[in-house]
């Protein structure tokens, strides 16, 4: 079990190095780790896994009903969705199958619904249903006035994106993968049948390479001499509303899609909040994850129309994520046989859903370019902390608290996170290194006070944790 975040890198030659520990890279590392004979390195520039796009999305486990039929995206989203739903049940990733409603607000949109149902059919999704205005309002009584009808997609689900990435990475590490954090790859040199990666923390060599660098997949590709695509970030700003808004909405409320993307949705989260977003803005800067006054105003305007009562509720958080748009509708997944490398780029707006599908596909491509995978085995058993609204927090469970009173000592009052859970997170195979990392693992500090009551206490616990001392 090796996770490093400072100091020199091991001298051994890995069989495979995966660059980027987002949801895609982590899923690939986990898939490869099933093959126990392989030595794998997961190399990440940031201090934690999932620090890129994977931490800032709309957290929906799509069915793939609206993908471009026949595309790789369509195939891997549908496949990944099934795999992830199964995996989530196995390891305890919060998922709720709340279903989606594509709401038509004018006659033109209403007229497009049958066409979208047809597209779902072509994507192999057969459960859609057309609803008239009355049926729609019966399902969503708080919906704003003027909605004319909807297409129901019962299979769309909500999921915890943080636990997903973390479960993959944890599983990979438990099965022997080395995770190297704080380790940006700056250059790649070919040395016979090996890749020499020059990283901020030294050199790392590997026989095979996977580029899962998200927004930087084009830059990493360029290090290999490829210029197949350019990533243009497409920013999505989102607003998270207080859990008191949770009663206002039961389904994922989607707009009828346009050329620019899936549009602004209102959706419940697995933690009981309500999400409003995202915007879609093409930008030159791959770090432009700030929110803007214009973006927030646009969102509140849309939100007021979709769910008027939402705007009376308190905002808990505002964030933005960047989709890795490449000017093409599909993923840019490509094998480079002569270099024993696979690029998983352009994983734009369905990467969370498709992650396990992409991982299986990429593993297949690695085998095609010569990697001897060996037999696949079982991964060690794993159970993630249940952060969802449907699970009882440890502080509410008599048995747990009786066995360990630390589970009854609540530190984060808004989200009812106990000191026991924080202790467990700090001692986990992939521990947090910042308040934000701790928040993604436990929800501590993610509530309505945003750490006003517990921030100092959490920083104190984090500072005193052995992980920090070891950094």
């Amino acid at each position: 079990m090796t996770v490093t975040s400072s100091g020199p890198l091991p001298e051994e030659t890995y069989d495979v190095a995966v660059i980027g520990a987002g949801v895609v890279g982590a899923a690939i590392a986990r898939e490869l780790a099933r093959h126990r004979g392989l030595r794998i390195a997961l190399v990440e520039a940031a201090e934690d896994v999932g620090e890129g796009t994977s931490k800032a999305n709309t957290a929906i486990l799509h069915t793939g009903f609206d993908a471009a039929p026949g595309s790789l995206d369509a195939r891997l989203t549908a496949d990944g969705s099934r795999r992830l739903a199964r995996y989530a049940a196995e390891v305890g990733i919060p998922v709720e199958r709340v279903g989606a409603l594509l709401v038509a607000w004018d006659a033109e949109q209403l007229a497009r619904l049958p066409e979208l149902a047809g597209k779902a059919e072509r994507n192999g999704y057969h459960d859609t249903r057309l609803l008239d205005a009355d049926e729609l309002h019966a399902l969503e009584p708080r919906l704003g006035p003027g909605a004319l009808g909807a297409l129901e997609v019962p299979g769309e689900s909500i999921i915890c994106p943080w636990t997903t990435t973390l479960a993959y990475a944890t599983h990979a590490v438990l099965a022997g993968t080395d995770l190297h954090l704080n380790c940006p790859v700056n250059g790649i040199r070919q040395d016979g049948d090996r890749h020499e990666l020059s990283c901020a923390r030294g050199r790392l060599s590997a026989r095979y390479l996977v580029n899962a660098a998200g927004l930087s997949a084009d830059t990493v590709d360029a290090m290999l001499g490829h210029h197949d695509f350019t990533v243009t970030p497409r920013r999505g700003q989102l607003i998270v509303f207080d859990t008191f808004a949770g009663d206002l909405v039961r389904h994922i409320l989607l707009p009828v899609p346009t050329a620019l993307g899936k549009g602004v949705l209102v959706a419940p989260t697995v933690y009981g909040n309500v999400l409003l977003g995202p915007t879609a803005e093409d930008l030159p800067d791959k770090r432009a994850t700030e929110s803007t006054a214009g973006g927030l105003a646009a969102l509140t305007g849309k939100g007021r129309r979709i769910l008027p009562a939402l705007l009376d509720e308190e905002v808990t958080a505002v964030y933005a994520g960047l989709r890795a748009a490449t000017g093409q509708d599909d993923y840019r997944i490509r094998a480079h046989p002569e270099q024993r490398a696979v690029t998983a780029g352009g994983i734009r707006s369905t990467g969370l859903t498709a992650s396990m599908g992409i991982a299986a596909h990429v593993t297949g491509l690695l085998a095609e370019v010569g990697l001897d995978l060996g037999a696949a085995g079982e991964l060690p058993p794993l159970r993630m902390p249940p952060l969802g609204r449907t699970a009882a927090r440890p502080c509410r469970q008599s048995g747990l608290v009786a066995a360990d009173p630390e589970y009854g000592t609540v530190v984060c009052h808004c989200e009812l996170v106990s000191r026991g859970e924080i202790r467990d997170a700090l001692a986990a195979p992939v521990p947090p290194r910042s308040p934000a990392g701790l928040r993604r693992r436990t929800r501590a500090g993610a509530g309505r006070c945003q750490g006003a009551w517990c921030g100092a206490a959490l920083r104190d616990l984090l500072e005193r944790s052995p992980v920090r001392e070891g950094v």
Binding site: F244, R287, T289, E290, S291, T292, A293, G295, L296, E314, V315, T316, A317, V318, Y319, C395, R396, Q397, S398, G399, V401, A402, P405, E406, G408, T409, V410, H413, L416, P435, R448, C449, Q450, G451, A452, W453, G455, A456, A457, R459, D460
Partner: protein, 412 residues
């Protein structure tokens, strides 16, 4: 094994801040029976626990917050109340039954009466929809105080304080204590909301400039704050370099429990609606302190606690009829809220109402009316300041028609 243990008390007070402790002290001393006070924090005292400045207690005493908190807790325990810290009230299992948890595990506590004294919280940057990056170094006053006073952590080198309410000056004190330079205070209002002497001291002696009529329109920097973009009301913009920002004031009642219990809230205060006897819409449930009106001084909160104790005792010993609400009390802009805000027959008439204004109002004339009929006029003989209490006498409540429309309070 997952069944919570159960017990019964006469009075359950949720929140061991100034309001809850004062209520418990009175109740226990007057023989209300078993009085239990819960607080989710490990130490009793509420907000004063982390207020190091000398601003607490009866006039002329100037205790620090922790001194005040310790005295209030001692008084409650001395009077015979039971204090249970580290215990969180999670929600309702009946009209006056609460589910709780703590190191001893989940419990179900049934009380004859419940007093909600859960206080207030400052709205964080996100709730104020201030755009920009999400760097480290963005705090509220409460978090700053805990950072500095309870945990002795660093608070950065250069700070900006957003807001000029009295509590913003408390943030200045905490920053000074932490060795952090405060480069400016910023407020959208035309002047400071603190007492003139305090504001002048900060500006002249503490050398902290006050930028008025200015709004923070963007937070800059990652992973740590590097600055704030401001926009002045005349349209000019500026960037203030800093690595810490404290968003102060903008209090909102911590009404989670009240709301979970379906207790009627007041649209103005956003806390539970109460009458002059601190009775909420739910029989047997009272509310006191900052949860009603965020936020007055600890003295006001404690005074309410003591007053409420009297009503609680009446309820415990009396015929036990809970008055149905008559008219409500509403304010018109620029007034923001008023408390109490629920009128009932039989409530004390000698009460004082508290109001808040959104704008500075020089010697305002307050007019109280119902259905077009003027009940009361009163001139305030000073300037009404946003974020500071504006009192209004309650002598007119006897004239209210309980069957009539809302009582309106406006500035003439």
């Amino acid at each position: 094994m997952n069944e919570p243990s159960a017990r019964s008390v006469d009075v359950l007070v949720v929140g061991a801040g100034p309001a809850g402790l004062a209520a418990a002290t009175r109740l226990a001393a007057r023989g209300a029976g078993r009085v239990l006070v819960l607080d989710r924090e490990q130490q009793p005292g509420g907000v004063p626990r982390h207020c190091e400045q000398r601003g607490f207690g009866p006039p002329g005493r100037w205790w620090t917050g922790p001194e005040y908190a310790a005295r209030a807790a001692e008084a409650a325990v001395g009077a015979g109340a039971e204090l249970s810290c580290g215990t969180t009230a999670l929600g309702w299992a009946g009209p006056t039954t609460l589910d709780t948890t703590g190191p001893q595990g989940p419990e179900r506590i049934t009380a004859r009466t419940v007093v909600l004294a859960t206080g207030a919280r400052e709205r964080p940057r996100s709730a104020r929809l201030v755009p920009g990056t999400r760097p480290a170094g963005v705090l509220t006053t409460g978090e700053l105080q805990q950072t500095v006073h309870l945990y002795g952590q660093q608070a950065g080198r250069r700070a900006v304080v957003v807001g000029a309410e009295p509590v913003a000056y408390v943030a200045l004190d905490a920053l000074r204590r932490a060795g952090t330079e405060t480069v400016a205070m910023v407020t959208g209002l035309p002047r400071s909301q603190a007492h003139a002497a305090r504001a002048q001291w900060a500006r002249l002696v503490g050398r902290v400039p006050l930028l008025t009529g200015a709004e923070v329109v963007e937070v800059l920097g990652r992973p740590r704050l590097t600055g704030l973009r401001l926009r002045r009301h005349d349209g000019r913009g500026a960037v203030l370099a800093c690595d810490t920002v404290v968003f102060t004031g903008d209090f909102t009642p911590d009404q989670v429990l009240a709301r979970q219990g379906g207790i009627a809230l007041d649209a103005g205060t956003r806390g539970p609606a109460v009458d002059a006897a601190f009775r909420t819409s739910h029989p047997g449930v009272f509310a006191v302190g900052s949860v009603l009106h965020a936020a007055e001084s600890a003295r006001v909160a404690a005074h309410e606690g003591a007053l409420a104790a009297r009503s609680v005792l009446c309820h415990l010993t009396g015929p036990g009829r809970w008055p149905t609400a008559g008219a409500t009390v509403r304010v018109e802009p620029p007034l923001r809220w008023i408390a109490p805000n629920r009128l009932t027959a039989g409530a004390p008439t000698a009460c004082t109402f508290l109001l808040r204004t959104d704008r500075f109002l020089a010697r305002p004339l307050l007019r109280v009316s119902q259905d077009g009929r003027t009940l009361h006029c009163e001139r305030l003989h000073r300037t009404a300041v946003p974020g500071r209490p504006v009192p209004l006498s309650g002598t007119w409540t006897a004239q209210v028609d309980q069957e009539g429309g809302a009582v309106r309070v406006e500035v003439d």
